[in-house]
């Protein structure tokens, strides 16, 4: 029996490490997607942001975040210890758990990167990421996954792999930032009309989406958090299949919808449709294929209309991250009440609102403090020239820009 427990320990830890590695790869997906949907004159900064945000998230979550999220039994937050310590698990490795969780934190931060792309200052952004991953994300995560339920306020709230805890948190933080940051120059004219700013590489954006899609199997599959029994493996397999189905429905729905609306299929919307399906199903990928299909189908519709909606509000989101992660994070979380009889719509709504209110308020204050101290937006001229040359002195494709 002792040997069997060891095997369970090993397999569950392996699941977390393997799934964590898949999720870590999502950082590459976010980088490619963002680089592809933005202009090449800003690509270096975008790649730099994505690289550094992952590194900063890893460090900050280890130093402060993990303990704040999972340590202790405080109702508002966990233990405020410096460096991960004082926590152990009987059924899996602590560091496997940490690694699996840290890549989730980085995912939330990646969401923000896309929304503020092409006009954010690197250091202002990284300071925000540092505080988000050390404090804001772990505190709200403590209420659901940390088990505190915020003193009972969030009792019954269900979010399997993080539609709210990860994705909409990234979305709320990004929304607060973009409201203070403003739109990119030239995105909206004086009559409020949208001037589309075309991305630099749809192949890159598509590659990024496929990488994200792949990583999501780790994101949702790993969130089963156990691989010690045959039932666990069945559950993981079901989650993989449901995740895949939601993305497929999201992509196909967005394709059909753009064909109907614009008489042409918009690839960028299809990419967002797949991601929207993935975000939506994340709250309940263990509820079967029908649930995943409906989640993905609705997400595919929501993402298209919310991209248009945010543009109407002149909230400039170059990659559609608000529509994908915020809107569909909310949709996916609320939809759990449709599929899970133990969960009510009110419980879910309450959880979404509490997490949203906290994350948005804390993020807004933090963004504001950064704005009035070191600033968050690059100079207008730098933005016009492209931030790459001014912020990094590099160009993403130097051979193509050399003359003669």
């Amino acid at each position: 029996m002792e040997n069997f427990a060891d095997v369970q320990y090993i397999l569950t830890s392996f699941l977390m490490l393997f799934a964590g590695a898949l999720v870590m790869w999502m950082a590459a997906g976010f980088a490619m997607l963002e680089a592809g949907l933005t202009r090449s004159k800003n690509s270096v900064v975008i790649l730099l942001k994505n690289m550094l945000l992952y590194a900063v998230s890893s460090i900050m979550f280890y130093l402060i975040g993990y303990n704040l999220m999972y340590g202790g039994g405080g109702s508002f937050m966990g233990d405020f210890n410096f460096v991960l310590n004082g926590i152990s698990y009987g059924d899996h490795s602590l560091m496997a758990d940490f690694f699996f969780q840290v890549v989730f934190v980085a995912t939330a931060a990646s969401v923000i990167s896309g929304v503020v792309a092409e006009r954010i200052k690197i250091w202002g952004f990284l300071i925000f990421v540092a505080v988000l991953t050390a404090v804001i994300y772990p505190i709200q995560g403590h209420w659901s996954w940390g088990g505190s339920s915020l003193g009972g306020l969030m009792e019954g709230f269900s979010d399997f792999a993080g539609s709210t805890v990860v994705h909409s948190v990234g979305g709320w933080a990004a929304l607060a930032g973009v409201l203070l940051l403003g739109a990119r120059q030239g995105k909206y004219n004086s009559r409020g009309q949208v001037n589309p700013i075309l991305g630099s590489s749809l192949p890159l954006a598509t590659l990024g989406t496929f990488i994200l899609w792949l990583g999501w199997f780790g994101f949702n599959g790993g969130s089963v958090l156990a691989m010690g029994t045959k039932e666990n493996v069945d559950s993981i397999a079901a989650v993989f299949a449901a995740t895949n189905m939601a993305a497929s429905f999201g992509a196909v729905t967005a394709a059909i919808l753009t064909q109907v609306l614009y008489k042409k299929v918009d690839l960028t919307m299809v990419l967002n449709g797949a991601l929207a399906g993935l975000v939506a199903v994340t709250a309940a990928p263990n509820m079967g294929m029908l649930a995943a299909s409906v989640d993905g189908f609705v997400a595919g519709i929501l993402v298209v209309f919310s991209i248009i909606f945010f543009d109407k509000l002149q909230i400039d989101d170059p990659v559609g991250a608000l529509s994908v992660h915020l809107v569909n994070g909310i949709w996916g979380t609320l939809a759990v009440s449709i599929w899970n009889p133990e969960v009510t719509f009110f419980m879910q709504l309450k959880g979404v609102l509490i997490v949203g209110l906290f994350t948005f308020s804390a993020s807004f204050i933090l963004w504001y403090l950064i704005k009035i101290s070191i600033g968050i937006r690059v100079d207008a001229k730098h933005e016009l020239d492209g931030v790459d040359v001014h912020e990094t002195g590099l160009e993403a494709y130097p051979e193509f820009s050399k003359k003669g």
Binding site: P196, Y262, K263, K264, D266, T268, I307, I308, D311, L384
Partner: protein, 197 residues
């Protein structure tokens, strides 16, 4: 006509050292000046100082401005300022329609005698002359609109970054012409109409 075309070519040689944006802007200015010359040539014809009916090309695509419009202006229209160029093209067509009316009044030989035709002494009737002067006045107004539109277009072009013009002159004109027809259909990016102007 060949002389005019050679002038444009020599001008283009001079601007080879400029970057593509400056070169394009210079070509817009040059085209505006060419249209002014064209208008003066018509004026000379209407005033009777010049009897040579070949002074101004009847086919608009052979006039210096028409050459610019069809061969050079269109290069940028594939990426920018298409609406302004469409307006310019329409105004230029209207100018030429008026010029055709003037030409018809000044050089219509249908009613002239064989003798006068042989000796080249076709006289323009007073009525035809008045009508051609009337058409010329309309032509001047239309040309003013055209040159104003060209100034607007020039400002729009100036407002663009240099990167938009990079490699502009390296492209094959014929290829660009075909492509410009292709993109006349409406295009959307993330739910927003891609404007060509």
């Amino acid at each position: 006509m060949k002389q005019d075309w050679k002038l444009i070519q020599s001008f283009q040689k001079k601007v080879k050292l400029m970057n593509d944006k400056d070169r394009y802007v210079a070509s817009v200015r040059k085209a505006r000046a060419e249209h002014g010359k064209w208008l003066n040539a018509v004026k000379v014809m209407v005033s009777g100082f010049e009897k040579n009916k070949d002074l101004v090309a009847l086919n608009q695509s052979e006039s210096p401005f028409g050459v610019w419009l069809n061969e050079e202006a269109i290069l940028l229209s594939t990426i920018n300022s298409k609406a302004a160029l469409i307006d310019v093209e329409e105004m230029f067509n209207e100018c030429y329609s008026l010029y055709h009316k003037i030409y018809h009044r000044l050089f219509n030989t249908k009613n002239s005698s064989l003798l006068s035709s042989v000796f080249g002494i076709n006289k323009v009737s007073v009525d035809d002359l008045k009508l051609s002067e009337h058409y010329y006045e309309e032509l001047v107004k239309k040309s003013d609109q055209l040159t104003n539109k060209l100034r607007v277009y020039e400002n729009q072009v100036q407002a663009n970054g240099e990167e938009k013009f990079e490699g502009l002159y390296a492209k094959e004109t014929i290829f660009i012409k075909e492509e410009s027809v292709e993109i006349k259909t409406q295009r959307y990016y993330r739910g927003s109409l891609i404007s060509d102007d």
